[in-house]
């Protein structure tokens, strides 16, 4: 959508302008943030519990170290995680397996939060294809993750992009809704306002096969970031798989990583 707006502006010989404005923010209610990951790689796996802070606040995020965190799976395994400082909790013996459903329970400040996530079957990440296109005089680089989507429908993928070892704060997701069971040819929808890829950049992409609820969480974040004409989707807290009003996400996913240098 942004590109369309850009073409119209170019064609009308116009420029839009941006400036930083001061806004009055409503008071923020500090909420519990839970981040949990279980992967098909070797453990330990971590759960992190923090609190949100108000938007203008430039301080640190309060960590919660006195929670009781347990993870169980659908094969009857159950363990209590070990607190590590800085809100981190570590698993001891848990082994992440494809197809298994994990349940996270967090007890903190007299509240109990639970979440469930199922690790999908692993899909092999074959390569990163870098496609160059000339777009209105600029060379743009599209990144196409190459992988073969399985025949069963309902696969969701999340991609975590780093450029020159710097993590890019963008939410990139693909699914098999439109082209099920084929080799992927869709590019990652990268917002190039803040990210200009150039020759020689070292890229690395982590591909995660994620379950439906985790995908909904990241798709919502991605849609909110794409504000087309008129402001786009009304922003909101993305639908989380954690109960009882905590923010964050608990994700059991497979991991595969590829790197490439932009030619």
């Amino acid at each position: 959508m942004k590109n369309i707006v850009r073409i119209i502006f170019i064609a009308l010989v116009l420029t839009s302008c941006e400036k930083v404005v001061e806004l009055k923010y409503k008071g923020n209610q500090s909420r519990i943030i839970i981040e949990g990951n279980i992967t098909n790689e070797a453990g330990p796996y971590f759960v992190r519990i923090t609190k949100s802070i108000s938007l203008p606040d430039t301080g640190t995020y309060p960590a919660i170290d006195n929670a009781i965190v347990t993870i169980s799976d659908d094969a009857g395994y159950n363990e209590i995680l070990t607190p590590q400082q800085n809100g981190m909790y570590r698993t001891n013996a848990l082994i992440g397996e494809e197809g298994r459903t994990y349940t996270l329970t967090v007890q903190v400040e007299n509240e109990v939060y639970t979440a469930q996530s199922t690790m999908p079957q692993h899909v092999t990440f074959d390569s990163i294809k870098v496609e160059q296109v000339l777009f209105a005089g600029d060379t743009e680089r599209n990144l196409i993750p190459v992988y073969k989507d399985p025949i069963t429908k309902g696969n969701n993928y999340r991609f975590v992009l780093s450029v020159n070892n710097k993590l890019i704060n963008q939410h990139l997701v693909l699914n098999d809704e439109v082209r099920n069971g084929n080799v992927n040819i869709l590019k990652l929808e990268i917002n190039d306002d803040d990210l200009k890829l150039k020759r020689g950049d070292e890229l690395s992409i982590k591909m995660q096969c994620i379950d439906k609820k985790v995908a909904l969480f990241y798709t919502t974040l991605a849609l909110m970031a794409d504000n087309g004409p008129g402001g786009g989707t009304a922003p909101n807290n993305p639908p989380s798989n954690i109960s009882n009003g905590a923010l964050g996400i608990f994700s059991a996913h497979t991991v595969d990583m590829k790197s490439v240098m932009i030619p």
Partner: protein
């Protein structure tokens, strides 16, 4: 039980008013413009000898008056034209057709085509008629005169954003406006994502907006009717007119087919910004243009029968070399047959075709993806006007529309899509009466019965709390779920004194087609969807009350109106719904209700060298939808507290006209983040209540000057110069939040603004 009593009351009311008719004679005919033969809509035909007896011409310039045998004088008047007095001797039914001449000495710009004190005598509420000559003098961005932009300057009508042709009427959504071009519904009335409207003003005769209290012959949308009528063409002489602007050029040819009887008009417009863009080597692979073509012809079969054909074709094209291409457009065709069945009964039959198409395609790495959607209508309308007697004008008729709606569907390499077109039948029958109860009281009342049939040919899923619970396979040709609604309409005008009146009104409107939109701007990716097993007709009930007063011999006109509107079965979609790729969009929908209330004040100065108006609206619009904002009421995004517009047109001399518009509006209701947190090393914003924040206010002054060159022989020409956003205010278009580059712990709010100081020049001619 309730409904039955209501119907019986209506029938009684109609029969009593009709029985009052005595044996009288009828004078009827058509009112036309003398120089071109264009019919005049809304011209007043009054009887000098009888105070408070008179009618106005209908959409085809036709009038009919029944009076006791005798001698009368008809006074025919229309703003901007010389009044005519015509003696009539009524000893049998007579036909009197009238040609009105332009008032040549006019040194002022008429801002409304309504009769001087129409606002006091007519029961219609919330209605504004737009004069296209006036619209041509107002400043607009890029100098493209635009009736939709002019309508956005009226109280109660709000633009969706800078440069946008989408509008919201009394808290309604963009899709709740019925936009008609010669009776054909236009589904996307904008070009270039909303910067320009699809209405080429050279081909437009007049436009009326009715803010919710529409007469019973209109229906199908909740909030307003924007009724746009194309010119018929000059039936006396061939004429050519056109214009050259920064963005587009226009050319119109009109003339007689049979002299003084029938005529045609062809009007075209095309933009050429892309031709300039192609001169630059960077941009040579870009295609970007739109065009409009309006065609109309009418043929008089005899004195009593006339046939009209009108067509509109418009297309937007946008592509970048071979990697991205997009095309969308409307095509409409209307075939109409006017028939004077008797001196008292006027009939119009319309057959209307309308098609809106959207296509966007992407190419990447040897594969292709196209998204298509379209909506196709076949529409039959039958409308009768019965001029029962001098005090009652009855309208009745029916309307059947067959919709074929193809939702956004992906096609291309490796894609298997199972989305099917859906069909629906939208029907309505109506009857209404305009009754002059006394010299002080006028009543318009009517009822519309609308019903919608879901038609077979597709599978319909039923969802409960967004979970699929049942699927209905409806066979082709079968009728599925049927929804029906009674829509009563009433407005009353009471004239409290010679120059003041009060009005009250109530109207119910329903809507069977709904727009699913990711944006507010009339984007081509918007998709329409009809009623189904989950989606029920939207219903709005509006009560309004108004006060009008005219001052200084009708030089000033003050109209105020307050309204309260409730809306049911409003639709939104849930978070994370990607409406273009989801297999069934109905699984993503949420339902709720809305309410809107406000006060509108409009003060017009209609006479003198300075004319114009001040419009002000204070209003509130809220929604309550299960699954959004914890089910609590929240501000709709189109909610704006204050809306002010000031429009002035100053006639400096016979050559120069100056004009200016100033607008001030409260910012749209939006949600700013209140907090932030870190998840997997990425900062994510925390939100609280939906739309609890405001964008900064928008205000802007635009000016323009028009120079009419003295005529050289038959050639008349004029130059228009404009400056948009005179003081270069950076009005907010969007606000995004980003990490500060030097201090990532700090979050910046970054505001994007569109137009700062846009100058324009255009040249117009006719001969």
């Amino acid at each position: 039980m309730h409904k039955k009593t209501l119907i019986i009351n209506f029938v009684l009311l109609f029969s009593t008013t009709l029985l009052l008719a005595q044996s009288k004679f009828t004078v009827s005919g058509t009112v036309k413009q003398k120089s071109s033969g264009e019919t005049l809509i809304g011209a007043s035909v009054a009887v000098v000898e009888k105070i408070n007896v008179g009618v106005v011409t209908n959409e085809y310039g036709f009038y009919s008056l029944s009076l006791p045998k005798g001698k009368y004088t008809l006074r025919i008047s229309y703003i901007g034209y010389k009044q005519e007095l015509i003696p009539v001797s009524l000893e049998s039914n007579v036909t009197v057709s009238i040609n009105l001449a332009n008032e040549t000495s006019m040194q002022e710009v008429v801002i409304s085509t309504k009769k001087d004190n129409d606002n006091l005598t007519k029961a219609t509420m919330g209605t504004e008629v737009l004069n296209m000559q006036m619209a041509a003098k107002l400043p607009v961005v890029f100098g493209e005169k635009d009736l939709v932009k002019t309508i956005q300057l009226m109280p109660g009508v709000k633009s969706n954003g800078e440069g946008s042709n989408g509008f919201s009427v009394r808290g309604g959504a963009t899709d709740q406006n019925l936009i008609l071009l010669d009776e054909a519904p236009v589904y996307n009335a904008s070009h270039m994502l909303g910067i320009f409207s699809t209405f080429n003003s050279d081909a437009i005769k007049d436009a009326t907006i009715i803010k919710g209290n529409s007469p019973a012959q209109f229906g199908g949308r909740l909030s307003s009717v924007l009724d746009v009528k194309m010119k018929e063409g000059n039936n006396k002489n061939y004429k050519v007119s056109g214009g050259l602007g920064l963005i587009s050029s226009r050319l119109t040819v009109e003339g007689p087919i049979q002299k003084e009887k029938s005529s045609f008009i062809i009007s075209g417009r095309r933009t050429y910004a892309d031709i300039f863009a192609r001169l630059s080597s960077d941009l040579k692979d870009i295609k970007l243009y739109f065009y409009d073509l309006n065609v109309k012809a009418n043929l008089a079969i005899n004195d009593k029968n006339k046939i009209f054909f009108s067509g509109y074709f418009g297309k937007d094209v946008l592509s970048v070399s071979s990697i991205f291409g997009s095309k969308w457009g409307n095509a409409t065709g209307t075939l109409r047959w006017n028939s004077v069945l008797s001196s008292k009964l006027f009939s119009n039959t319309s057959f209307i075709y309308s098609n809106y198409d959207f296509n966007v395609g992407f190419k990447s790495g040897g594969s292709e993806t196209n998204f298509n959607s379209h909506i196709k209508d076949l529409n039959l309308k039958q409308d009768f006007t019965l001029y029962a007697n001098a005090n009652n004008t009855v309208r009745f008729g029916f309307n059947v529309i067959h919709h074929t709606i193809t939702p956004t569907k992906a096609v291309g390499t490796d894609i298997v899509s199972n989305k099917e077109s859906r069909k629906g039948l939208e029907n309505a029958v109506y009857v209404s009466n305009s009754w002059k109860a006394s010299d002080k009281i006028n009543l318009d009342y009517g009822i519309r019965f609308s019903f919608y049939n879901v038609l077979g040919g597709d599978a319909y899923n039923i969802y409960k709390d967004n979970q699929l619970i049942h699927t209905i396979h409806l066979e082709k040709g079968k009728i599925g779920e049927t929804y029906s609604n009674w829509e009563p309409r009433l407005s009353v005008n009471y004239r409290v004194s010679n120059n003041a009146s009060i009005k009250i009104g109530y109207a119910r409107n329903t809507q069977n087609l709904h727009l699913m939109s990711n944006s507010t701007g009339g984007s081509p990716t918007d998709q329409w969807i009809g009623n189904s097993y989950n989606i029920k007709p939207e219903v709005a009930d509006q009560v309004s009350a108004g006060f009008s007063k005219n001052l200084n011999d009708n030089a000033f006109e003050l109209n105020t109106e307050a309204y309260y509107k409730t809306m049911q079965h409003q639709i939104d979609y849930r978070d994370g719904a990607d409406i273009n790729t989801v297999p069934d969009i109905e699984s993503e929908l949420l339902f709720g209700k809305g309410r809107s209330y406000g006060l509108e004040i409009l003060l017009k100065k209609k006479k003198g060298t300075l004319t114009g108006w001040v419009g002000y609206t204070i209003s509130k619009t809220e929604r309550k939808i299960n699954g959004i904002n914890n089910g609590q009421w929240y501000n709709a995004k189109q909610d704006r507290t204050h809306d002010l517009s000031i429009v002035g047109i100053y006639t400096l001399s016979s050559k120069w006209t100056l004009s200016g518009t100033f607008i001030y509006t409260t910012g749209n209701a939006v949600s700013f983040p209140t907090g932030k947190y870190v998840l997997n090393d990425m900062v994510i914003y925390q939100y609280a209540n939906r739309n609890a924040d405001r964008m900064p206010a928008t205000h802007r002054l635009d000016v323009s000057a028009t120079y009419d060159r003295p005529s050289k022989g038959k050639l008349h020409s004029s130059w228009s110069f404009g400056l948009y956003n005179v003081y270069g205010r950076r009005n907010p278009y969007s606000i995004t939040f980003k990490e500060n580059k030097s201090d990532p712990k700090k979050i910046d709010a970054v505001q994007t603004s569109l137009f700062q100081w846009v100058p324009s020049v255009s040249y117009n001619f006719n001969f």
